[in-house]
């Protein structure tokens, strides 16, 4: 366990180096974007660049940034001038709620559909499930989100309330109105691939000798499926679901944009478009930490699913 945790550090360090370097490969910087439409000339912008210390050697900039990180000071956004950690913190509740709701929808759809499909292989229900999962994989979530919004507006003259994310505790009804649709859209999109994976791994497991033995011993079908097969088929599904959760927690830019939810995804997109390097670096680092933690949690869950796997 400690080994795994300690392995996270070089991974995160490596990602910080990569991000720091890659962002500076993109042509232009935040001042070029800020003053793109202004009459300021090249010299005036260079002067501003100097004021902000953006013309320092790259290794100096990296050292200053890492030094700040170690003091838990990631600096300020060059665009908004607010602390970058504060910008993430402001958006995290939206992203967390959306991610977990979408994840729950994914699991609630994917696993029952995958199990149903596998247990009724080649029957009409399996055919229907497979058709729906292919459709779900093929249909882009941004298109689905747009269709849903426009359909609701046209048919019933309603869309989720705009103008502010309601608190789940203080105004749960409005909050759920704002989150349920994007969660369903995101969840449905991710559920399709997860359902297919569930079906396929279950069909593989069901062909294993120990499952055949269980059937031949006279165990009830239900007991074999749910007591033996599904649990063992879940390992690759959990791995895949874990990566889905990681992506969701990193922010889903297009869905946030369409449903006007100010989450981490939009923050990252803005940081890229604005060449807001401090914000982008911390966002990518955040994503890396999230993924690393999710992977750790997934690995730890194997021990629960498979008693043969134990961690020291």
């Amino acid at each position: 366990m400690m080994t795994r945790l300690s392995l996270m550090l070089p991974v995160i360090f490596g990602i910080s180096l990569l991000t720091f370097g890659l962002v500076r490969v993109i042509p232009g910087d935040v001042l070029d974007v800020m003053y793109a439409d202004s009459p300021m000339n090249v010299q005036e912008i260079a002067e501003l660049r100097h004021r902000l210390g953006m013309d320092k050697p790259i290794h100096i900039q990296y050292a200053e940034w890492m030094g700040g990180l170690l003091r838990l000071d990631a600096g300020n956004s060059l665009w908004t001038r607010r602390p970058v950690l504060q910008e993430i913190a402001d958006r995290l509740p939206v992203t967390i709620q959306l991610a977990f709701m979408a994840f729950a929808v994914q699991l609630l759809i994917a696993i029952p559909v995958g199990v149903l499909s596998a247990t009724n292989q080649d029957k009409p229900s399996d055919q229907l499930a497979r058709f729906l999962t292919i459709l779900g994989t093929a249909v882009p979530d941004f298109w689905l989100a747009t269709i849903v919004l426009v359909f609701l507006a046209s048919s019933i003259g309603w869309i989720p309330p705009l103008g502010g994310v309601a608190s789940l505790r203080e105004d749960p009804l409005v909050n759920l109105q704002q989150f349920i649709l994007p969660a369903l859209v995101l969840g449905a999109s991710g559920a399709a691939s997860l359902a297919r994976l569930t079906r396929n791994t279950l069909l593989e497991v069901i062909r294993e000798d120990y499952v055949r033995t269980a059937f031949s011993k006279g165990l009830v079908d239900r007991s074999v499926w749910y007591g033996h097969a599904i649990k063992n088929a879940m390992i690759p599904v959990i791995t895949n679901a874990g990566s889905h959760l990681g992506f969701l927690l990193g922010g889903t830019v297009i869905i946030e944009s369409i449903f006007s939810l100010p989450g981490v995804g939009l923050l990252t997109l803005n940081a890229i478009q604005h060449r807001d390097v401090p914000q982008l670096e911390i966002n990518v680092l955040f994503l890396a930490i999230v993924f690393t933690c999710v992977n750790l949690a997934v690995d730890l869950s194997y021990g629960w699913l498979d008693p043969r796997i134990r961690y020291r």
Partner: protein, 571 residues
Amino acid sequence: MSRHRLGFGLLDALVVSVLVASCGPAAPPAAEKQVAKPAAEQAAPAAKEAQPAAPPAAKPVAGTPKNGGRFSVQVVDDPFDWDPTDRGKSLPQQWGIGLAYESLVGFKNGPGVPFDAAQIQPELAERWEVSPDSTVFTFHLRPGVKFANIPPVNGREMTSADVKWSFEYFSRTGEFKDKNLPKGQYDWMFEELKNIEAPDPQTVRVNFNKPFAPFLYYAGSPFIPVMPHEIYDHDGHFHDRIIGTGPFQLDVAASQKGTRWVFKKNPTYWQPGKPHFDEVVWLVVRDDAAAMAAFQAKQLDWVGENMTTNDSEVVRRANPQAEMFEYVRVAPIHLYMNTRKQPLDDVRVRKAISFGIDRDEFVKVFTGGKGGWALAGAFPDTFSQEEIRQILRYDPAESRRLLADAGFPNGVEIEYMYTPKSLGEQHVQEMELLQAQLKKVGINLNAKPFEYADLSNRRRAGDYFMSHTAKAIEGDVDSYLWTWHPTSRSNYAGVNDPALNALLEGQRRESDAAKRREIARQAVRTINVDQVYGLTLYAGVDYQFVQPWVKNFAPNFLFPGWPVVDSWIER
């Protein structure tokens, strides 16, 4: 829900999805609900004699104003910086400045006032005098105007000292001269400023070293408003706060970053009984389709940011009761040519480009025939459409002849910068149409994609050949014409023509409005015909929609955002 509505709902959803996916221009139906026709003549600039003290001019009223209600509008991003000297960071910033601040003079707006009209009227100054040589501008302030009652300004009276302070801040002169501040982006509105005097609390005098006729119109620019020094004294900048004399003031407590920005009615606003709305609320809606859905669901009272002809058709069909405003843009699609680079340094090549552009095709393809021709450096009233069609010609044969004359009988290749995403699909299509048209006359445009910031940077540094974008202009034709002066920071064409310089400087110095207009016309001819230092592709069409319960609303090109002082809600 009836099957009927379900069916149409699904149909609408599919139509929108196809349009969102394709985003190609298409000719809309001919008849529209309301068309704001361009003004035939611009109102004459204010004369040199004193203006009478009068309230803002009366406008046609559509019923009796009712107080109350919220006006909800779409913005696509958060404002991040309220300093008017820092443009370009965020479009909503300009709109907020237009709501909370005011300038010395204003511009007429409302139903009955054409979109492209620049008709000066009193605002914070109730009258003014301009010296015969346009070197001294004396403004007499309206007494009793107060800043909003928000700390640290706390509702005190606005005086001439505030005007002096604000103008010195924008121009980085006076007390700001040695403060080493970043260059003010609107300091060019104070070209050749000598000093600013405030002889008494109600009088401010702006003195120039040389005649500067455009200044009266620049004094109405929302980007040089009257601001309270207390914000700067307290914070050292204007980035985070906005407190002015305007009809609506930002309510920070009611706003939520990323989703809404609330501007509440200023209870101490100087126009009695106005504004009528209780609040103007910006809803941050980044996606165009989502904004259209929000308008249809009546969560938005206004939509119109970056609306194409296709989008307008979708909104119109889905909202037959909404009021639509359709107007030809004042700022045309400008074609930049770097005259410092071969072969564009040869006037024959530039003329060949001009003769090779079929502007009617641009107007037809991108505006369904509703747009217009335009001249680089000109406002819509500088030349009429008939005159423009005589000045500019589509003549492919002449184009080929000129190219051959310039030493390119077999054609020529020119690099062309464009941006594939930032300016929308239409920008790319405009490039493609231009490419196709010029190919017919032997000019091969080698199109290269760049990020918008990179494109702007290259253009600024003179590291480009050709590109096109909409031109940013202010309230006076000088803001467009001066582009070709060698001292202009926007002189991306790299022009330094002594004859043209004389005309450009002449129109700034000429106090007589009619003579000034004639000088401007000569300069425009030089730019577009004699030397072809600049061209336009066409003047596009913009659309805005408001809900049927929004009354007395009409956009104007000089108002960033929405001119809403006289509008009201009537449900």
